[in-house]
């Protein structure tokens, strides 16, 4: 293949570029990103970067020289505006048009805007990219009262950081428990207790009706029941939308994400896609799904690169994820969606416990809280398809590692 163009210079885009070179692509390689930064890590943005004095450059995956060494034409602050599939060309915002023999879409997601009156107020912030994080960090430094809208991973990480900075913090969540879409009640309750113990006020099952401007540049967050929460800073973390517009306009199949098969191929054989922007198939699971995680960005990008190189390998890697809130490290191995039973290993406490999920008697996922060693073991058990009985998982005295050796 002569020229490969990658649209989206994030975690998946970088991995694709590196895997293409490693896999033997010696033709031209373009990595097009609309942000002004070279590919960088997002996870620290809601954690260390926000909490500490942390230089921007420490977020960058690779120094700029790396792209020269790899012979990758990295275009920053450059937006791709259209894909002309018939002509095999990509149009860029600067007027340039690049022909391609293979194309990869790694466009990620963007934040879902807060759909209430007054949401355009400058006190309202979001967190997706480094520019957002810089602005948020600056506003946080002068803030006393913070309202976080959305009790998901990012919102809760920001809430914990704001408490560290000694702000008064309220979290408003529409559902009746935290992280409800991905966590069972026992984990939601554990985190609710944790955040409350650190002095954060949780408003569960509460709707935000409006953001009302107040005198001194602050706002009042009006809730559905009429009550108001004064805030110097509002952080909305109510989910993301896949950046699929380019693909939709080009006539590629999309369904809340760019649809790809287990080889990361879109409905056009010359175009692959990977990372947060895809609705994909993983051989481990029956249903296609979209995931926002480092693991998926990296592993799926490797699959996409192999497909472009004609070395197609299906995607079957085990999903994993982590979230840090206060002194608690939550680590997820596998996907628990579709489980029909679960057992606890250990009692819910800061000392650590895990939740083991089963479907038709088969272990499908493990959430660990402050049990890093158990999380790593779970990844090995799940990757290898080791048979674990619920009673074994629930018995802290039973040595799960022994099962691994046995298989």
């Amino acid at each position: 293949m002569r020229r490969i163009v990658i649209i989206g210079a994030g975690q998946a885009g970088l991995q694709l570029a590196e895997s293409l070179r490693k896999g033997g692509h010696d033709g031209e390689l373009y990595l097009i990103g609309d942000e002004r930064w070279p590919p960088y890590q997002r996870p620290p943005l809601s954690k260390k970067y926000l909490a500490e004095d942390f230089a921007d450059a420490r977020l960058f995956f690779r120094p700029l020289e790396h792209y020269t060494r790899l012979n990758v034409d990295l275009r920053l602050a450059t937006r791709a505006t259209a894909i002309e599939r018939a002509a095999q060309r990509v149009a860029l915002a600067n007027g340039e048009s690049l022909g391609y023999d293979g194309l990869a879409l790694t466009t990620g997601t963007r934040v879902r805007p807060l759909p209430v009156p007054g949401a355009a107020h400058p006190a309202v912030h979001y967190l997706r990219g480094l520019d957002d994080a810089q602005a948020l960090k600056q506003r946080l430094a002068g803030a006393r009262r913070v309202v976080v809208i959305g009790g998901g991973f990012i919102g809760l990480e920001v809430a914990a950081t704001a408490r560290h900075a000694d702000c008064e913090v309220h979290v408003v969540e529409a559902l009746d428990r935290l992280m409800a879409r991905v966590m069972p009640p026992v984990v939601s309750d554990f985190f609710a207790t944790l955040h409350r113990a650190h002095g954060t006020q949780l408003h569960l099952g509460a709707q935000v009706a409006a953001i009302e401007p107040a005198a001194d540049g602050s706002v009042e967050v009006r809730l559905g029941d009429g009550s108001g929460l004064p805030a110097d800073l509002v952080v909305a973390g109510i989910g993301v939308l896949p950046n699929q517009e380019l693909a939709v306009a080009a006539g590629l199949a999309c369904d809340n994400g760019i649809v790809v098969d287990e080889y990361a191929r879109t409905s056009d054989p010359l175009i692959v896609a990977a990372g947060d922007c895809t609705v994909h198939r993983n051989l481990r699971y029956e249903l296609p799904h979209r995931l926002e995680s480092v693991q998926n960005a990296v592993d799926q990008a490797k699959v996409a690169a192999a497909s472009l190189l004609g070395q197609a390998q299906p995607y079957a890697d085990l999903p994993w994820f982590w979230s840090d809130q206060y002194e608690v490290k939550l680590q997820i191995a596998g996907l628990s969606a579709g489980h029909d039973s679960h057992v606890l290993r250990g009692e819910p406490s800061a000392a650590g416990f895990s939740v083991y999920y089963f479907r038709q008697g088969r272990l499908i996922a493990v959430d660990s809280l402050n049990r890093p060693a158990e999380h790593m073991l779970a990844r090995r058990l799940l990757s290898g398809g080791t048979h674990v009985l619920p009673a074994q998982a629930a018995d802290p005295a039973f040595d799960l590692k022994a099962l691994l050796v046995a298989t």
Partner: protein
């Protein structure tokens, strides 16, 4: 600044200067040492920053804590001198450190 020498899987040497306080992983990434992939960015979650501390240094650098020890179990070809380089912080006392990059993928 402490000098750190990285030796990649092909045997190529990279003599680098790495500021105290950074991790051995950050030193490798900043200097373009191949093979230290560090996809989790130093969160001790991925094991793709795996390297072997040179025998002459292994004792001084020390071993992994429990978390790192468990993560190392996911790495390729673990040895007694294995460390996840994101968990090894450079200090002035480490001037001259030599590490051998492991096969990370």
């Amino acid at each position: 600044m402490p000098k750190v020498t990285y030796i990649d899987v092909d045997g190529t040497r990279y003599d680098c200067e790495v500021a105290s306080g950074l991790s051995v992983m950050e030193g490798a990434v900043n200097n373009g040492v191949p093979g230290i992939l560090a996809i989790c960015g130093g969160s001790c979650a991925c094991s793709t920053c795996h390297a072997y501390i040179d025998d002459a240094w292994a004792e001084r650098v020390g071993g992994p804590n429990d978390i790192e020890d468990a993560t190392l179990d996911l790495a390729n070809e673990r040895k007694p001198t294995s460390r996840l380089t994101c968990q090894v912080q450079i200090t002035d006392a480490m001037d001259g450190l030599v590490v051998h990059v492991a096969k990370n993928d």
